[in-house]
């Protein structure tokens, strides 16, 4: 069952597709944590709980509540409404767990820049001392290297965001590649997925560089290549990202009654 209007337009937004794609990578035994501006991963986690991963735990990084009930999804990770949840941790507890590394299995991340090895930068574009663009700051991204799987999402897919090497490394991905990554002894599994409005990408197991996995409906491979500022690994055959099912969309929209993901 696909989801198109009678004149053939897609009946879901790019953000809704991103949430569904993230949701599909979550497992029943995951414990996830998300931070700033996290409507998309919030919905991804709740959707996973309502479908294939009922036992998944998700932590809202601002309020630090566990399994917020999300009716509706709220835009801020610190929202009072997120406290309608199964349990409450303190921010201090969550920071401790992020450092412990063997408990939290998924960290949702993003950046002003994301590089070929999945390193993220939320601090500054250009020379740090005289930045062309000062970002807000890195919050908890340094913990990317400790928590199980890193799932990166960003609503910008262009050569300024996807760069060969971040100008400032504030969230470790595979660092400068296999040698440095292996030598680091960091406990996390590193970045596993990047979801953008154009495509989903993974990482090549040998080179640890980003590799195209699927292109979203209506997007072609050349478009992704042109929008990526580094030499993206592109397999011979690139499938199209499956469209969300009517059931997924219906569940998602029942959560997103404020329409935070709608039309974006």
């Amino acid at each position: 069952m696909t989801a198109k209007t009678h004149n053939g337009e897609l009946t879901f937004s790019r953000s809704e597709l991103m949430a569904v794609e993230l949701s599909k990578r979550l497992r029943n035994d995951d414990v996830t944590v998300m931070g700033t501006a996290s409507a998309i991963p919030q919905i991804a986690c709740r959707l996973a709980q309502l479908t294939h991963a009922p036992d998944l735990y998700s932590i809202a990084g601002g309020t630090c509540s566990v399994n917020p009930h999300l009716g509706p999804v709220v835009p801020s990770c610190g929202d009072y409404d997120l406290l309608r949840a199964d349990t409450s941790l303190s921010l201090n507890d969550v920071v401790l767990l992020e450092g412990r590394a063997d408990v939290l299995t998924v960290f949702f991340a993003g950046g002003l820049q994301v590089d070929a090895y999945g390193n993220c930068n939320l601090v500054a574009v250009g020379d740090y001392a005289h930045p062309a663009l000062r970002g807000p700051g890195t919050v908890g991204l340094p913990f990317l290297s400790r928590v199980g799987r890193v799932l990166i999402y960003t609503q910008s897919h262009n050569p300024r965001t996807f760069v060969e090497r971040v100008d400032f490394l504030s969230g470790p991905g595979f660092l400068q590649g296999p040698a440095e990554w292996k030598a680091s002894g960091l406990p996390g599994d590193g970045p596993q997925l990047v979801v953008t409005p154009l495509c989903t990408m993974g990482f090549d197991s040998e080179t640890l560089r980003m590799r195209l996995e699927t292109v979203h409906p209506g997007v072609d491979v050349e478009q992704v290549r042109a929008a990526t500022g580094f030499d993206l690994i592109i397999p011979q055959s690139v499938p199209t990202t499956p469209e969300p099912s009517a059931e997924q969309l219906s569940l998602l929209r029942a959560l997103d009654t404020h329409g935070l993901l709608k039309g974006k």
Binding site: T36, A37, A39, G62, T63, C64, S65, P75, S76, C77, G78, D79, Y80, D81, L83, R84, S90, L91, N92, V95, E98, G99, A101, L122, V123, A124, Y128, A129, H130, P131, A132, L133, R134, G135, P136, G137, T138, V139, G140, L141, P142, F143, L144, S145, R146, F168, L169, S170, G171, P172, L175, S184, G185, L186, P187, L260
Partner: protein, 304 residues
């Protein structure tokens, strides 16, 4: 002995001009102690160094917009889904403010160390693979783990001179209830030499002591209590009202350049006293009050 004090007297007495390390409570668009911050701007107090929670928002941005901040130790200043913080961004890009680049774990553990008299805090492996310690040797360093012989990253303790915090309720002694998320506000209270609280409402001690387990800031840490209903606006006050995204967007719009920023500070802060500001905001605040969800009910039961 009452610690209740007026807004202007609180800032006059407890926030010296040129204060060494000032910290402001709340996180993202929530529980920012805006009444106190607006008053700091009205009284034109220079801040040598400002420390935010892991995520600063209007609490830091407005002080920067008013040109009062020399240095800021932070891991984030911004407005989450609404946008970047224009004055923070412009001040850093132009070099008119110095950033002590921090990460969330360091701020959290650093306040813990400051609260507990720990000489420093050893940090989990990982931060040394980022560029953050490279640009902030004042807060980050390295030492030897004597148990393993390895070199490990460490952070300096954070010991603010003054903390400006919001709580939902307090009694006249400063015993305070935090409704909703605590963020790192309690650690700021534990680590700071002087603590000024603004609260939605001052209540009798016997009211507050009915639920001691919800009253998590003890009066002995608090130096002044200011009754400031609506005082977090336009950010949210957990338990009372939500943030006003329109008002934040309006700020971002005006603060696009220096002239607009000055105009905002004049129009919304220095030209008004707090009563006038709140009078103008009162209709919006009423619209933003939380409904009777489970948490609002739990709090109203507290008061019943």
């Amino acid at each position: 002995m009452t610690k209740v004090i007026s807004l202007s007297e609180a800032v006059d007495r407890y926030v010296p001009n040129g204060v060494g390390l000032l910290t402001v409570g709340g996180m993202h668009l929530h529980n920012n102690p805006m009444a106190l911050i607006r008053e700091v701007i009205r009284q034109n107090r220079r801040i040598t160094r400002l420390l935010t929670s892991p995520c600063g928002a209007l609490n830091a941005e407005l002080l920067i917009a008013a040109g009062l901040v020399d240095e800021i130790a932070t891991s984030y200043v911004g407005f989450e889904h609404i946008g970047l913080a224009p004055s923070f961004r412009r001040s850093v890009e132009s070099g008119s403010i110095k950033v002590l680049e921090c990460d969330e774990a360091y701020i959290t553990h650093g306040l813990y160390a400051g609260a507990g008299g720990l000489p420093f805090v050893a940090l989990p492996k990982g931060i040394e693979f980022t560029d953050i310690p490279k640009v902030n040797s004042e807060n980050y360093s390295f030492t030897t783990d004597p148990f393993t012989g390895e070199t490990v990253p460490v952070g300096a303790p954070l010991k603010p001179d003054v903390a400006l915090l919001h709580a939902y309720q307090a009694d006249e002694h400063g015993n305070a209830v935090v409704a909703g998320a605590h963020f790192v506000d309690r650690y700021m209270a534990l680590a700071s030499k002087t603590v000024i609280l603004q609260v939605e409402e001052i209540v009798p001690t016997d009211e507050i002591s009915k639920h001691p387990q919800g009253t998590t800031i003890p009066g002995f840490l608090v130096h002044g209590v200011v009754e400031a209903p609506g005082g977090c606006y336009p950010t949210a006050s957990h338990g009372a009202y939500n943030f006003d995204d329109q008002a934040i967007a309006e700020y971002i719009g005006m603060a696009k350049d220096d002239a607009g920023t000055k105009q905002y500070v004049k129009q919304f802060v220095t030209d008004l006293n707090e009563a006038q500001y709140l009078h103008n905001a009162s209709e919006r605040i009423e619209k933003l009050r939380y409904g009777r969800g489970p948490l609002a009910v739990a709090l109203s039961e507290r008061k019943a």
